[in-house]
Amino acid sequence: MLTDPGLWEVLASVPDPEIPVISVVDLGIVRSVAPDKVTITPTYTGCPASHVIERDIRDALDAAGYRHVAIETVLSPAWTTDWITPEGRAKLAAYGIAPPTKGAVHCPQCGSVQTEEISRFGSTPCKSLWRCRDCAEPFDLFKCH
């Protein structure tokens, strides 16, 4: 039985509660979709949004007529920022959050690479706090994880 493409559409309409410009699909936490089951994975162990995300997905599925579809949460393999989609990365940058990178960190405001870390821990577990030395704007970096 083929997976209903409508299921993906429903999931793509569910925003991340803490960064509402990207969807749970953009974020890469939807691991697989089967006709009767959606498998998701938490970003961080202690992420308080995990429960909200599961509830939001449940509500969206129910509203779209997918009451029979179960939601399963799995931990392994552990989520990594590599699973954020290219669309998700673009949306983060447009929103003012530098997407995760293993190379130079670009200021999401002016594009400069003259940036520095202020604090390894930011407003949510997934972000660190940075500052642009050119335009002097502080910004969040989605931590490479």
């Binding site: 162990t45 308080p48 392994s76 604090s119 390894r120 821990f121 577990p125």
Partner: protein, 275 residues
């Protein structure tokens, strides 16, 4: 310094009850082992939360709250697994909020008061370095649920260790005042390190089963990493002190009861309250 025998339980207290090491049977041993893992994370998470709104700077405030959040997240997973292993219908909330002090299985290090910021950072360095090595080993646990939690958490604990290391170095290699406080914090917390590597019957049984970790096997690496940070911080390695043991069998310092009073007051006063 000549090594003194470890302080352990008075023999009268080992007869029965809360201080007992349970006879290792697979189910009860797994329950106990998961409590050890979960309680370490829960109690340190609660301790660090006490800094919220009081840290030296807003960045540090956020950092400590984030670390606390990671730890409470670990505890949620481990205590839920413990409840499943026990099979009596207890979940993470029941185990966190409706157990009394003698039933907690955390080590002494995590229940120690925060002291000043330097003392908190000393505790964090000593704990997070250990927890990272522990979780790295637990990724290979024959119990797949434990392996999955460890695999996920080890990435986060690496941040905790880095943050603590940076502060220990900054304070140790700082002003006269910061160095003095950092050294005192380290000297105080040092006595709780041997317990982290204690192999009692339960720990040995779990290691034998491939579920738990052979703690002495990660000791050299631990010592090396801690020594490197202490050296870079220009601090003195504290002398070995008389080890204090017993947390794994429910024998705790007086501090834990006070911590639990704050943590458990609301759910005990208003059981099953919701908002």
């Amino acid at each position: 310094m000549a090594s003194l025998p470890p302080i352990d339980l008075p023999s009268a207290a080992t007869g029965a009850g809360a201080f007992d090491t349970p006879a290792p049977s697979e189910g009860s041993a797994l329950f106990e082992y998961l409590l050890r893992l979960g309680d370490d994370s829960l109690i340190l998470g609660q301790r660090l939360s006490e800094w919220c709104g009081h840290a030296p700077s807003v960045e540090v405030d956020l950092s400590l709250a984030n670390i606390a959040l990671d730890l409470v997240g670990q505890a949620t997973h481990f205590l839920n697994l413990a409840g499943e292993a026990e099979g009596k219908g207890r979940d993470d909330d029941a185990l966190a909020f409706r157990r009394d002090v003698l039933d907690f299985r955390n080590c002494w290090l995590v229940e120690q008061p925060n002291g000043d910021f330097a003392q908190t950072m000393a505790r964090q360095l000593l704990f997070s370095t250990w927890q990272k090595l522990l979780f790295r080993s637990l990724v290979g646990s024959s119990e797949p649920t434990i392996a999955a939690v460890a695999e996920k958490a080890v990435k986060e604990v690496t941040y905790h260790q880095e943050l603590a290391s940076e502060w220990v170095i900054r304070l140790g290699d700082g002003t006269e005042e910061s160095r003095r406080r950092m050294q005192e914090g380290l000297d105080w917390m040092w006595r709780f390190v041997p317990e982290l590597f204690e192999m009692d019957d339960l720990a040995a049984f779990m290691a034998e089963k491939g579920i738990g970790v052979d703690l002495p096997a990660i000791r050299d690496e631990y010592d090396r990493q801690i020594r490197d940070v202490i050296a870079e911080a220009t601090l003195d390695l504290p002398p070995d002190q008389r080890p204090i043991l017993g947390g794994r069998r429910g024998h705790h310092s007086e501090h834990l009861g006070h911590l639990l009073a704050a943590m458990q007051f609301l759910p005990r006063t208003y059981p099953d309250a919701v908002w």
